[in-house]
Homo-oligomer: 342 residues x 4
C-alpha cells in the first residue's frame, strides 16, 4: 500500500536506524537521497533504489527545493554535521534531527537555523532494530506548518493505526497519535517526550528484570545456610524451595496479563535464544536520555523515584558504586570490627 | 470454537472475576455449577446457562466426581470457606484457589487438604475486568497430574496462542506458556509468580506515571518564580516552556515505541475518558502482592529497589509518610530556623 | 581567648548567619565593617562594636587595603551585589561568597573577577543558627595564597580542634581540617563540598525520620483492621502492639549509639519542645544543594540512590507527586475497576 | 566512681561484646559470674576479677537468687542456649537477651519463660567495639518491675548523662534516656527499637558514603571522554576538575557541620588508617536488623524508602543483582542491538 502523497527525503547517516528508515520510506513510494561517510552503505542503499551521494555537497544538490534533510547520527556529531550542512542549504529548507539529541540542544539549534530561515525539527524516534517492520513511534518538535508539510513522511515511518486496537473510549477525531506519530510542541518538545519515554523504558525494564530475578531466586531455601555473624539466616527456607522456569514465565506473561508489553515480548525472545542469559555479564549501559530525564524531574521538582533509581541501578551494574561500598565497609570495620566476607 | 474436551467446573464466588470466568468457560462448551452467598448473582448466571446452587452442600452435590471447585474469593475469606467446603468433599476431589492468596498460605492449605486426599491448586489469575474477552493469564501451582487433568479448563480460560505473535526465536515445542497459562511448580508456585507479577506491575505503572508527570510539568518555566530562601530557583526556565498533551503522548506510545504495553493502552483509554483525570485524588491503594514481593526480595537478598520503591510511593500517595515529614520539618526548624512553607 | 593575628573583614548581608559571623569574629579580636540594605541591623551591630556602613561605597571606603569582603546573601542576589560591589574594589582585594551558591557560578565569577585582579573565594558555611557558639564548619575553594592570607578569619569562625576528640588514628600533622575548616581546592571546590554535605544531610535526616516513624507506628496492630479488597490485612497484628515514646528514643540514641549525631541531638530537642510535633505539617522544603548534588551524581555516573531518594521524598512531602498518583489511580481503575479509597 | 547499688550479674557469652560488658560492670563495682563454651576466655576474665564457670550448671550455681543471667550470643544460638539454661533456673530468676535477636522471637520466648515464672528482658545494645570506654546505648523491653530491679546494671553499662551536653529544651525530669538507656515497652520493644536503630544506621552510613563518593569522583572531567553510542558524554567536563582530599573532608565535617556524627568520626578514623581504603573490596554485609526494619515498615505501611534502599544497596554491593542486570542487558540487546561494554 503506497502513500497518497509521495515526497523526497534526504537521509544523512545510514546506520541501522537510518538505513531502515530509508527502506521503509521507499517501500511506501517515497524517493530518498542518501549520504554517509562510509561509501559502502551508500552503495548498498543505491542498490535498493535510493539516490546515493558521496559528499554533503552532492547530497544537497540532489535534493528538490525546499529540501528536507533527516539526520540519523550519534548525538555527539550532530553539531559538527550541521556546521557543514547548513551553509549548503537555502531559506525554506528543513533539517530533521531524528537521533537522540538532548532537547536543550534542539532549542539552541533551531534558533540558530532560524536566523538563516532554515527550519529545524527534532524527532524522537523509537523502535530500535524492529522498526523496519513494526514502524517507528515518532515524537516531533518544531513549527506546525513544517510538521504538516512533512506529514506524508512521518505517516509512512510511523506504525499506522492498524498496528494496535483502537483505544476504546477515544472519541477525539483527527490527530495523528493513533497512527503512531505526534507533533508534541515547539522545538525540543519532540526530544523531550522521547527523553522521558526512555526514562519510562528504564523503569519498566528494571521492574521486569527485578521481578524475574526474584522468581529465579525462589530456590534460596535449598542452599545450605551459612551460620556466621555476617550472614542473616533465612527464617523460612521452606518457603523458598521453587525451581521456576523464568523463560516460561516471561512467555506466559505475554498474553492476558497486566504486564504484557513489548518489553516482555522481547524478554521472552531473549530467553528463547539463551535460557540462562550466559552471554551477558550484566554491565548495563545508559545512553543519556535516562540521565536527562532525572535532571528534568529534579528541575521540575517532580518526584520520579522509580526512573531515578532505575538509572542508579544501571550505575551499580557497572560497579560505579564501588567506592561508596568501600566507605561502608570501612565504617563497619570501625564501629563493629566487622571484616568483609570474601 | 468449542473446546475438544468439555469438563464440568464448580465456581464459588461470583464477583466480577468469578462470574466472567464462568461465562468464558460456558462459551467454550464447559458446564459450570455456581455458588455465591448472594443468591441474585447465582440466578443471573443460571439465566446464562449455569447450574445454580444456593448452599455449599447443594453445590457439592451437583458436581460430578472427582469434583473440581474453583474459589474466586477475597483472600481474607478463603480459609473460612475451605473450613466449610472441605468436609463436604471426598478423596480425589480438587480445589483451586484462583484469588490473590499469599503463596505461603497455599503451602499450608495444600498440606492440610492432602491429609484428606483432596488436591489443592493455587492459580494466580491476571486479566482484571477485561479477561472475559481478552482471556486470563494463569500461573498455576500444585501437583502435575492434577494440573494436567484440568488442562481443558485452563486452556479455555487462558487467552490462547493467537492473542499475540509467536516469540520469534522460540524453538521449544510443547508447553502451555504460549497459550497464556503455565504450571509454575508445586503448591504456592502459582501464587508466587502471580505475586511477583503484581510487583512488576507496580513498578511498570510507577515508571509510566512518573514519566507522564514529568511531561505534564514541562511547563514549570512559565510559572512565576517565587524568590525566598525556602525555594530553589529554576536555573533554566526557558527549557521548561512546553504545554504537552499528555493524553496524546499516551496514545502515541501505544504503537511502535519500546514502552508499548497494555498499561499504556489502558492509560490512553483513561485519558480518553477523562483528559485531566479530575475524578481521581491520587490515593493509591496496595493490595498485598506488592508488599509480599518486597518481603520475598528481602528474604532472598535480591535487590529490588524499583519494585520496593513503587510500593513506598503508594504509601506516600496515601500520606502515610506524614509523620516522617514532620520529623524532617522539626529538624530543619532546629538547625536552620527554617519555617515550613504554607 | 583572642586570635594571634587580628584582621579586618567587611561583611555584606547581616541576616542571622552574617550577623553571627561578625559577632564571632569580634569576640576573637577581629575588626568588622558591616553593611546591609536594612539600616536597623547595621545599627544593631554597630552597638556591638562593628563599624557600620549605609552604602556599599561607604563600606568599601572603610575597608583597609587589600580589602576583604564577605558576602552572606541569598544565592539569588549574589550576582547583582557583585555587579555593584566589584567596580568599587581594586586589584588585590578579595571577595568571599559564604552563602549557598551553586559551585558552577563560583567558577564563572572567579574568572570574571580575576580579569580585574580581584580574588574570589567560595566558602561553604555549615552550622545554622547554632554557629555563633558552636562555630561554623567551613569548606573553602579558591587560590591557595589568598586562603592562607585569610587564615586567621577562617580559624576564628571555625569551631576549633577542641570541640571534638582528636581522630584516634590520625598521624597527619598540619592541615586545618581538625580545626573545622578546609581549603578543598580551586574555585568552586568549597561550595561543591558544601553542596554534597547538604546532600548527605538530606539522607541522614531522612534515615532518622523514617526510623522514628516506624517506631511511632509500632502500634498499628491495635487498630481495627478494615476488611475490603483495597486494604492489605496485617498478618501479625500481635507483633505491632507497642506504644513507644519516640521522644525518649531520640534522647537515648544521643549517647553511645552508632547513630549518635548532631541531627539526633536536634531531634531530641525538637521533641522536648513539642512531643507530638503538632506545629509541623510535614511540607519539607529543599533549597538547592540537594538538587545540585543529584545532578552531580548523575553527571559523574555515581550511584547515589539514598541522597536522590531523600530529595524525592521531600518533593513527595509537598504533594508534588500528586499527578503521578492520579495516573496510577486511573490505571488501577482501568484494569481492575478499583475505586480509590476515600 | 563506683555504683551506689552493686549487684551480681551472670554473663553467658564472652565474645568481644560480652567480655567488655563484664569489664565495664566490674569497674563500677558489680560482681560478675561468667560462662563461655571457650574456657580460655573464661580464664581471661577470671584473671580480671570475674567468677568463672565451666558449665551452665556451675554458672547457675554461682549466681545469687533471684538470679540474673545476661546472654550475649549470636542470635542463631539463643534458643538452643535457653533450652539448656532455663531448666536450671527457678521462679523469680531473670534472663536478659542482650544480642541482636529478632523482636518477634522475644515475644515468643518471654511467653514461654513466663510459664515457668522466669522473667525475660530483651536489651538492644549499641556501641560496638568502643562500648567499653564509651558506654553502650541500651534499648530494653520487658516487665517494668524487673527492669527497675536491674536498674543499677543498666546504669553502669550505659554511657551516662555526662557523655553529651544536656538537650537544651528538655524539661522532663526523671527518666533514664539522658543516661543512655531506656525501657522502651513490653517484651520485644527493646529489640524493636534496636532493630530500627540499625535501619537508621544503614541509611546514615549510605548517605555519608554516597556523598564522599561524589566528592571523590569530582575529577571525572579530567578523564578522556569515550565516544561511542553506549556512553553518555559528560556535557560539562570543566565543572568536574577537582581532586578533593576526601579524608580531610571527613575530618572537617566532624566539627560544626550539620552532618557531624559518630559515623563521620569513625569515617575520618578509617581514612587516617588507610587513605585509599585499599584493603576493602566493597562487599557490604547486612546482618538482619536492616531486613527486619524493612519488613516492619512494609507491615506498618510506612514509607521508608531511604532505609529500604540502603539495604538494597548492600545487596548490590555483594553482586546479588547480577541476574537482574543480565536480564536488562538481554532486553537492550533485543530492542536496540546494544552489545554490552566490556
Amino acid at each position: 500500500m503506497a502513500t497518497e502523497r509521495p515526497m523526497q527525503l534526504g537521509m544523512v547517516g545510514l546506520g541501522r536506524m537510518g538505513a531502515n528508515l530509508v527502506r521503509r520510506l521507499m517501500r511506501d513510494g517515497h524517493r530518498c537521497v542518501v549520504y554517509d561517510v562510509n561509501p559502502d552503505v551508500v552503495k548498498e542503499l543505491e542498490a535498493e533504489g535510493a539516490t546515493g551521494a558521496t559528499s554533503l555537497e552532492a547530497f544537497v544538490a540532489k535534493l528538490d527545493k525546499p529540501r528536507t534533510a533527516w539526520l540519523m547520527l550519534p548525538a555527539a556529531i550532530v553539531d559538527a554535521t550541521l556546521d557543514k550542512l547548513v551553509p549548503l542549504l537555502e531559506p525554506g529548507d528543513a533539517v530533521i534531527d531524528g537521533g537522540n539529541s538532548y532537547y536543550r540542544d534542539d532549542i539552541v539549534r533551531a534558533k540558530r537555523l532560524a536566523g538563516q530561515q532554515i527550519h529545524y525539527l527534532d524527532c524522537g524516534t523509537s523502535g530500535g532494530v524492529w522498526g523496519l517492520e513494526r514502524g517507528y513511534c515518532l515524537m516531533i518538535g518544531g513549527e506546525t506548518d513544517v510538521v504538516q508539510r512533512l506529514d506524508p513522511i512521518f505517516k509512512t515511518i510511523a506504525p499506522g493505526a492498524g498496528t494496535a486496537e483502537p483505544t476504546p473510549s477515544r472519541t477525539r477525531t483527527g490527530g495523528t497519535a493513533p497512527d503512531g506519530y505526534l507533533h508534541c510542541g515547539p522545538n525540543g518538545a519532540g526530544h523531550f517526550v522521547k527523553m522521558v519515554h526512555n526514562g519510562v523504558e528504564y523503569g519498566m525494564m528494571a521492574a521486569i528484570a527485578e521481578g524475574l530475578s526474584i522468581i529465579k531466586h525462589a530456590d534460596v531455601g535449598k542452599a545450605t545456610q551459612v551460620v556466621d555473624a555476617e550472614t542473616t539466616p533465612l527464617r523460612d527456607p521452606e518457603a523458598y524451595q521453587y525451581d521456576i522456569d523464568v523463560a516460561e514465565v516471561a512467555e506466559v506473561w505475554r498474553r492476558g496479563s497486566v504486564v504484557s508489553s513489548w518489553l516482555v515480548d522481547l524478554t521472552a525472545d531473549a530467553y528463547a535464544r539463551s535460557p540462562e542469559l550466559d552471554e551477558f555479564t550484566g554491565r548495563v549501559s545508559d545512553s543519556g536520555e535516562g540521565r536527562w530525564t532525572v535532571l528534568a524531574a529534579v528541575d521540575e521538582g517532580v518526584p520520579a523515584t522509580i526512573i531515578t533509581t532505575s538509572l542508579m541501578e544501571r550505575f551499580e551494574s557497572r560497579r560505579l558504586g564501588e567506592y561508596t561500598d568501600k566507605v561502608l565497609s570501612a565504617m563497619r570495620s570501625q564501629f563493629g570490627g566487622h571484616a568483609e566476607k570474601k
